[in-house]
């Protein structure tokens, strides 16, 4: 009945991996499946699948559940979902802070990714606007970035309106001659970037990294004045602008996680991921079209010393 067991696996978006426990003792403390949130971008899939693979090596049952960016928080708080490897603290809405505050969601610390947010442009724009990458150059070459609807101002594509208005506030704050146009959705932003790149059209856009588009297209960042410590976005002036406050990427679990699966909780607390590892994996999956599970097992094979340490510490 090969077919049946395979189908069971696919059932209800679940891929239950049951492998032999490497360790004795009381792990797993519960046989209930730990539900890991899968969002819809590849980087997050990699972080999640590696965490899931490690958990099943420890003997846990894991289940991957697809969830949208906002609904997942409700799921985590209600205990229908249990672990999310990447919460980007710059785009969380009002629900998440409330859940963290009353303990329905527990933050396990940063994943280790160093995210970067800011404005990007294709390298060919450096010819049309020679002063780049400094943001100061944008004052003089706004017209190089203009479109019919924004002329004579430049056109800046920002995050969708429901992600906040940070770019728009900065444009206004430092009096940049640009019109901030809300991107509508990630898909629309990427579509516009791809199309502008293909046609060699001017474009300046708010983006974030790690993102798979950087594996696909060559993009440069607009540089700001360096600051000591955090950049305060709200109070910037034309000559001393520091750009954006950088986000952190947090691992979070359901409030009841530690009580139910203590060893898993310990392991996930130490689990980390680097930009380089994630970008390499993204490139393999999105550009070379390889299967994510192959890439994940390859990573596990190459980094055994790293993850052995996490698991050993957790099993003590």
């Amino acid at each position: 009945m090969l077919k049946i067991s395979k189908l069971f696996g696919i059932l209800a978006t679940t891929f239950i991996m049951s492998s032999q426990s490497l360790f004795a003792g009381n792990v797993p403390e519960s046989n209930d499946a730990i539900k890991l949130v899968m969002n819809d971008w590849t980087g997050q899939h990699v972080s999640t699948k590696i965490a899931g693979a490690l958990l099943s090596k420890m003997g846990y049952n894991v289940e991957y559940v697809s969830a949208g960016a906002v609904p997942q928080h409700a799921g985590l708080a209600q205990g229908n979902l249990h672990f999310q490897a990447e919460v980007w603290t710059n785009n969380i809405g009002d629900l998440y802070p409330k859940f963290v505050e009353n303990g329905d969601i527990v933050v396990l610390g940063q994943l280790g990714l160093e995210p970067r947010e800011g404005w990007v442009y294709p390298p060919y724009m450096a010819d049309k606007c020679p002063g780049l990458p400094s943001y100061q150059a944008l004052y003089d070459c706004a017209q190089a970035f203009a479109s019919a609807s924004s002329f004579p101002n430049g056109r800046l594509i920002t995050y969708p309106a429901d992600w906040g208005t940070r770019s728009k506030d900065i444009v206004a704050g430092i009096e940049l001659p640009f019109e901030a146009v809300a991107g509508g959705s990630e898909g629309a932003m990427i579509a516009e970037l791809k199309s502008a790149y293909a046609a060699g059209d001017p474009i300046l856009m708010m983006m974030w990294q790690p993102h798979w588009i950087f594996a696909d297209l060559d993009l440069n960042w607009v540089e700001w004045n360096p600051v000591d410590g955090e950049c305060v976005e709200e109070s910037q002036a034309k000559d001393t602008a520091c750009g954006f406050q950088q986000a952190s990427v947090d691992k979070v679990v359901w409030g009841g996680f530690e009580g139910k699966w203590p060893a898993a909780h310990k392991m996930l607390s130490t689990y980390s991921m680097t930009n380089a590892d994630q970008n390499a994996a993204i490139l393999e999956i999105d550009n070379k079209g390889r299967d994510i599970d192959d890439v994940v097992s390859e990573w596990l094979a190459n980094n055994e010393s790293t993850w052995k340490g996490w698991i050993d510490a957790a099993m003590k």
Binding site: A12, V70, P160, D162, A182, G184, A188, M189, E192, A198
Partner: protein, 691 residues
Amino acid sequence: MPVQKEQNTLIWLGIIAITLLFIYLQDQWKWMAQYPKDMVIPLADWLSFGMDWVIQTTGWFFIGISWILEWPIKGVRWCLQILPWSVSVFLFVVVAYASSGLRLAIFTALACCYMLMIGYWVESLNTLSLVAISVPLAILCGFGFGVWGYFSKRAERVIMPMLDIFQTVPTFAYLLPILMLFGFGTVVGLIASVLYSFPPMVRNTIVGLRAVSSEVIESGLMAGATPSQLFWQVRVPSAWRQLLLGVNQATMASLSMVIIASIIGGTADIGWEVLTAIRKAQFGESLLAGLVIALMAMVIDRITAGLANRSDAYVLKETNFVARRRYWIIAFLGAVAFFGLAHGIDGLNTWPSYFEWNPAGILNDALTYVVVNYRSEIESIKTFAFFFVMLPTKIGLKGTVSPFTWGFSLTMVHKIAYVVLMLGLAFYLSRRWSVNAGIFVLLFAIFYYFGLTGLPWPTLLLIYSYGAYQVGGVRLGFGTLLGLGFIVITGIWSEAILSVYVCGIAVLISFALGSAIGIWAAHNETVSAVVRPINDTLQTMPLFVILIPFVMLFKIGDFTALLAIIAYAIVPAIRYSEHGLRNVPATVVEAAQMMGSTRSQLLWQVKIPLSLPIMMLGLNQTIMYGIAMLVIAALVGTNGLEQVVYIGLSDGNFGVGIIAGVSMAIIAIIIDRVTRAISAKRSLELGLAAP
């Protein structure tokens, strides 16, 4: 009644005068240009607060329902996926054949092959299993409310407006409360799709039961039927056809909603695939996944429609046991046979991967080719539309005309020329045609000069309410005033105007273009045959899919939103105008031909006036579709109410989202009532039965 007409003209001229006065005054009186912020009623906060309370006190109840509903979904999924593909495909084909014959059976087989080949079989089945649970629930609820509404006038008066609300409030506005109440999971999508798909069943149930002729009831009574016999054995069977039509519509609605609801996640269905592909801006992949849904919808639509039509023929029943149950027997035997074969031949069990073929790359390359090679043409279309249509509508000629856009700046001479020209045109039209046309030109001239955003809200309120009063009487006028007043006092009037601006232009273009295509299709069988499948695809494809190519060609912004809305809203305009023209009585056409009318006279003076009521209904549907698509268009960066709905959803702010959603529903319902009133009026004038 000439006196009344004159009065009417005077009132309109008065309104125009007030409008001009208000425009003049709004520079001094700021509250006129923008409703004062401190007068806004914090309804959103109250609603959010109330929602929190409901969740805290009754949350356990809903979580319980959610837990119960989870099981049938899992069960159906399990059943569908346990079967080898060959068995499922065979069963689908038999159902298709039984409902409407060989052609549909072949179409079904091909559609299934497409899903298998493209590699989305499992996801398609997951979508199907959600639909398989949500449709029966929707039918049950719909039938129940329909029967209640049929027997009780008072219930009907409550139910009908609720149906309008459910069908016009964008789903995104109520996804959040459903999520909070029922918890994360597949059930959220299920509930959302039931809420959206049960209204057509209610409507059809009421219509069907009401249409049962009194002779049938009387003969039932004379035969001595008890009330319950009378209901189940006389009324229901007589209304069967209409009920099945309701089933058909509920199924289609449910299918379209399941896709939107997959934005929540937890389903691993085809909708999630579409959304993921769209998030990565993969045009090819999203189109291919979208086609799966379109094909699925077409097959299910034809099957349920086929069953509805076949039910007429119930008189001819074979008495033979085998003949009566032949499809069941074929289905059972075939399924067993395929099941057996699938155990021997693995290719019949799981689709062999070397037969998978995915042309997404080719589609992507083709789109890139167009983007790269036709960019100047694309840019000029966009610039033209932007400078001459969109900007003037939004901020008026006053704000648009400049050397950069129109090549000159607006001087006193131009202004005077504009005023004289428009006054002249209005005067000419009111003499030659009708006073109303003249007034319309005057209003249009003011709109076009100052722009929608440049008009003070009190005048817009006045114009819309009086217009509604004129076509639909006191109740409609007062309702319009109340509805629009709600939008003003909740503080989202300026966003509402932006929605009306994008949607209004889109609807006008869709209607003009769509009617033209419809008229052409009514006179030309080839055109009709070409247009029909395109319409079907546009209508059943998940709306998101259209966005990617439009963004790539025309960039983020209102223009892309406009095109996306047109692509969706043009369908009813085409369908209704073709239907209207084809239904003009042949005798009338003949009579006109005998009187020697030319082809163009026949079209403009006979056919179009006669089909106008139906075309007005088409306009009504075009507007409804436009408003529905508006929410999706927010994903390419618009700034109206639709964007507020998203902000509410992503901030987890129930009140903000639902108020924006209800405001969109209010606009939709007002327009619906007004167009229906006009259509009814025209029908009455022409002496036709109301369509």
